[in-house]
Symmetry: C2
Subunit: 186 residues, 2 copies
DNA sequence: CTGCAAACTTGCAGCCACTGCACCTTTGCT
DNA sequence: AGCAAAGGTGCAGTGGCTGCAAGTTTGCAG
């Protein structure tokens, strides 16, 4: 959407605080009032939370082969989701995340929307492991996997580290499922 | 502080959105302008991020016995910090978290302030493990431990689960350092 | 082509969060 | 008593955001 693209671009150029909703609307060729017909707030125009992501992730987890345990199913679902997202709009993700990374307010938004997705995931994992979605295992599994994703993203957008996202994600998940063993040896 | 207490209490009674800064200020007996001399925003009056928490946690990690590995040191530091906080103002924490839990905006703030603390922790862990604070191990370790804390808190404030916070935290950390093994067996 | 309804867009008025500045009151010390 | 630092306050103004009551466009049936 034009508004979202304008918001990310402008924020990247001048900094989030130096961009008003009026600026964004003007750049997209609509009135400020229209902006709020599409986004609940300025933050949303940049973070652009996908309202279907939660349900889609839930489906992905449940569709994984039956022989996979809940951890492996979650892992496969995450990799699928991120690989698809990267292919569709990886470039936009990178720009967006560089903007987000520098603004506590935006960062907070991202975490919050991640948290909502985690609720869906927890229920899907719970279903696979025959538990309630408020039990420790499903909650912690999705929360820790979410942490691994965030870490992988943070390293991905680092200009000094050119490795592909899926490599970094795999590395993080490996370490996580190995019980966070210290690098120098057990 | 009176303002913070008023904010949490009012938000708990009528809901965060139905409380204005003016209300809070009035309840605390000061002018609205004064409110903003103490808090950067309405959210902060409820979340009340401790500006020294990051540095204190950093110190705690570095002060753990030298024979502990980085994971064990982080774990001990977390337990110390939370045990102390509970003893000092555990009741306020509980009320606050119940308010926060229902408001995406506040939840986001909490995550964001946690994220800042994680940066400090990552550097402390990196120091113990002889790495850079941007390496995978320190980043993932603190992010995953943060996830465990959030899960433990979420279960702690659940009225149906009366177990003490430190028990829940220990349980979560155990599962995490066991590589998130599925509950039914390996 | 006409008429019409649904969808989209807009202006306006207004609330509230938040800020910079200048002023005042209190406090504590000489 | 005099003074200076610290903290509280009023005011004016910006910007985010919303409800409402209009236009305007779009697509389709008559």
């Amino acid at each position: 959407m034009a508004l979202s693209r304008a918001a990310v671009t402008l924020a990247h150029e001048r900094g989030y605080d130096n961009v008003t909703v009026e600026d964004i609307s003007a750049a997209a060729g609509v009135s400020p009032r229209t902006f709020f017909n599409y986004f609940a707030g300025k933050e949303d125009a940049i973070v652009a939370p996908d309202p279907e992501a939660g349900a889609r992730m839930r489906r992905r987890v449940l569709e994984q082969p039956a022989e996979l345990g809940p951890g492996a199913a979650l892992r496969a679902a995450l990799v699928d989701e991120i690989a698809e997202g990267l292919a569709d709009e990886g470039e936009m993700w990178l720009l967006r995340m560089r903007v987000v990374q520098q603004h506590p307010v935006l960062l907070a938004k991202v975490f919050a929307s991640g948290e909502e997705a985690e609720r869906n995931l927890a229920s899907a994992v719970a279903e696979r492991s025959g538990q309630s979605s408020t039990d420790l295992y499903p909650m912690l599994l999705v929360a820790a996997a979410g942490a691994a994703c965030r870490v992988a993203f943070a390293r991905w957008i680092d200009p000094d580290d050119g490795r592909p996202m899926l490599t970094l994600l795999g590395e993080a998940l490996d370490l996580l499922f190995a019980g966070l063993a210290a690098p120098g040896g057990p």
